[in-house]
């Protein structure tokens, strides 16, 4: 059975694009349109990898990332951030949350700034899903 990969994004373009890339490379795509649904799906489906957008309405990717990393059952799932914002900005947001008293969390497995080439995305995914 093929490996499950969860994509969390609110942008319909990215949803279709990532879904297609995953299918083309033999994975089973799971799609969530916001952080809340994404977290729930992660708990139920235990995917092999999560591709996460940072800027989403409602529960943002920034929050969801922390919750993933603070959950003992989920923290070992590799997370690739796929985002329109720069890596520096994302890391800074994590630092800021740590300064506010949260536990520090590890950096994401990979950070991709949009736009991304399908080939490149597939290669990065393959690094973490054996």
């Amino acid at each position: 059975m093929s490996k499950k990969i969860l994509s969390v994004d609110d942008d319909p373009d990215i949803i279709v694009f990532v879904k297609t890339v995953l299918e083309e490379n033999g994975y089973t795509p799971l799609i969530a349109k916001n952080g809340e649904t994404g977290l729930a799906m992660a708990k139920v489906e235990k995917p092999s990898l999560i591709i996460l957008d940072v800027l989403m309405p409602k529960q943002s990717g920034i929050r969801m990332y922390r919750e993933l990393k603070n959950d003992p059952e989920l923290r070992d799932i590799p997370v690739i951030i796929l985002s329109g914002i720069a890596k520096r900005t994302f890391l800074r947001s994590q630092e800021a949350l740590t300064e506010f008293g949260d536990e520090p969390v590890p950096e994401p497995s990979a950070y991709i700034e949009k736009p991304v080439d399908p080939q490149e995305l597939a290669e990065i995914i393959a690094r973490f899903v054996k």
Binding site: V16, T20, V21, G84, P115
Partner: protein
């Protein structure tokens, strides 16, 4: 007792003896001399206050003694002793400056009176001299003080950066400092005592001075105000001006005007505006580039999915990819339309329409997005709003922007378990105006965000907004002679209200109002 030194000159030894004894007895210090020549020698040596001299003496007579004594010391008092009944000589002596005369034989009584009078005179002279000296000194001190003050004020006026121009009561310029030379471009020589303030001041300033001169005590000065003066070469110079009338009692004795050069400040202001504009352009370009990059990403993604569909002959993939391409072409087209609307002057296109129908159209377009995100889209339409003449495409565009923003405001709201709701309302307002309002209970705005709402390319939606929506809305509303208002509270939501004028039949009136609106 002061001024008690006497010189007694007489050729009769007896008289010398008797008089000197009696005078010493009275407390005088008495020097004696038997003739004029010796008398003068004693006078020069002892400087007596009073000289008593016989007129008729062999050799140098009393007249000569009198004249010499007065030459040596004009203040010395000389009393002459004349022969009995010799009034002519007495009068002659008085003419030469004698202070008094006594007749022979010298009686004590007459002598005492003459001496007392002489001493009184001396005392008066001394006091007078003291006063005079004091007065001279005081005058000198005062003069010095005045000179210093005047010099100080001169320096103040000369070194002042402000232009200072003073006139006399006729308006003729009497003072024109270097500061004024710099501002007006004229030299002192060209103006002082030659020109009137009216030749120099701009009309509005000159008029103030003129009215000040006319009405006594009515006005004393003017606060600072900004005016343009015309410099010598005709160049307009922006200045801050204040002026005052100079009074002496109730009478106007002149005027003074103060001028501060604003050219440098204006230049800096222009530079600031310019650099702010450049910064704004930079931000705009960056934001647009970012937005276009997002669209490009969507297009490239669409192409990829379409290619997969073609390769695999997968109709679903083809459809999904093609939808992506279409959606992003739509975004490009919207962006270009927004940019065009924003950059071009556009004449409203008035047509007969039903505003409530436009609201329905907009709501139908947004319904899917609202429903997908569990946001209730509510219409609250005033049945009194009937057919009117308006610019329907502008109304449509504005409402679409506002409703779309309202839905985003709900999407970006971080509150939990809220029943999000966007309502669109129409109202027949006063004076041929329809009021449209779009209310949401989403994220709301801080006052900082509210202030930037209608400024260039401001967006809170990250890469998902161009920052053009409200800018375009604002512009359309203005072009249509209406106004837009915002009320908002963070966490509680926002209400955008547009008031647009209309006519029941098409005509020029509304067009004129629309133009007037643009000038705001």
């Amino acid at each position: 007792m002061k001024m008690n030194k006497l010189l007694l000159i007489d050729d009769e030894e007896g008289i010398l003896k008797v008089l000197s004894m009696s005078l010493r007895h009275e407390g005088y210090v008495v020097h004696t001399a038997p003739n004029g020549r010796e008398g003068l020698a004693v006078f020069e040596k002892e400087h007596p206050h009073v000289v008593l001299t016989d007129l008729k003496m062999p050799g140098m007579d009393g007249f000569q003694v009198l004249r010499r004594v007065k030459e040596i010391d004009p203040d010395a008092e000389v009393i002459v002793i004349t022969g009995h009944g010799d009034m002519d000589s007495a009068i002659e002596a008085l003419r030469y400056g004698a202070s008094d005369f006594i007749n022979k034989p010298v009686r004590d009584e007459a002598l005492r009176i003459a001496l007392d009078r002489a001493r009184e005179k001396l005392e008066m002279k001394r006091q007078l001299r003291a006063y005079t000296t004091d007065l001279e000194q005081m005058c000198q001190i005062a003069t010095e003080e005045v000179r210093r003050k005047s010099e100080f004020q001169d320096k103040l006026i000369t070194s002042s950066n402000d232009g200072i121009v003073a006139t006399d009561e006729s308006g003729t310029i009497i003072l024109f400092n270097p500061g004024a030379e710099k501002i007006f471009g004229y030299s002192r020589r060209e103006l002082v005592e030659k020109k009137n303030f009216a030749d120099l001041y701009p009309d509005e300033v000159a008029e103030e001075f003129r009215s000040g001169f006319r009405r006594k005590r009515d006005k004393r000065g003017w606060g600072w105000k900004e005016v343009n003066i015309q410099a010598k070469g005709g160049e307009p110079v922006p200045v801050r001006f204040s002026g005052a009338l100079l009074y002496e009692g109730d009478n106007v004795i002149g005027s003074v005007g103060f001028f501060q050069d604003l050219r440098e400040i204006r230049r800096l202001q222009r530079e600031l505006v310019q650099s702010e504009r450049l910064a704004a352009i930079g931000q705009t370009v960056a934001r647009l580039a970012h937005y276009i990059k997002n669209i490009l990403t969507g297009l490239q993604g669409g192409m990829y999915v379409v290619n997969i569909g073609l390769d695999k002959d997968d109709k679903d993939k083809l459809k999904a990819g093609w939808t992506m391409v279409q959606r992003n072409i739509g975004r490009v087209s919207d962006l270009v339309m927004d940019l065009l609307t924003y950059s071009k002057e556009r004449e409203p296109e008035y047509r007969d329409c039903f505003p409530n129908d436009i609201v329905e159209d907009v709501c139908e377009l947004m319904e899917a997005k609202a429903a997908q995100n569990k946001i209730a889209l509510v219409r609250d339409l005033d049945p009194a709003v009937g057919q009117v003449t308006m610019d329907p495409s502008a109304v449509h565009r504005c409402l679409l922007n506002l409703v779309s923003n309202a839905i985003d405001a709900c999407l970006f709201d971080l509150s939990e378990n809220k029943e999000w709701r966007v309502s669109v309302k129409t109202e027949q307002a006063e004076d041929n105006v329809i009021r449209f309002s779009v209310t949401d209970n989403g994220a709301g705005m801080t006052s900082d965000v509210r202030k930037k709402l209608f400024s260039a390319f401001f967006s809170t939606k990250g890469g998902k907004g161009t920052g053009l929506g409200l800018l375009v809305t604002h512009k359309l509303v203005q072009e249509n002679g209406g106004r837009i208002e915002v009320a908002s509270e963070p966490g509680r939501g926002s209400t955008f209200t547009i008031c647009l004028p209309y006519r029941r039949d098409a005509g020029d009136g509304i067009r004129r109002r629309a133009r007037a609106g643009k000038n705001h």
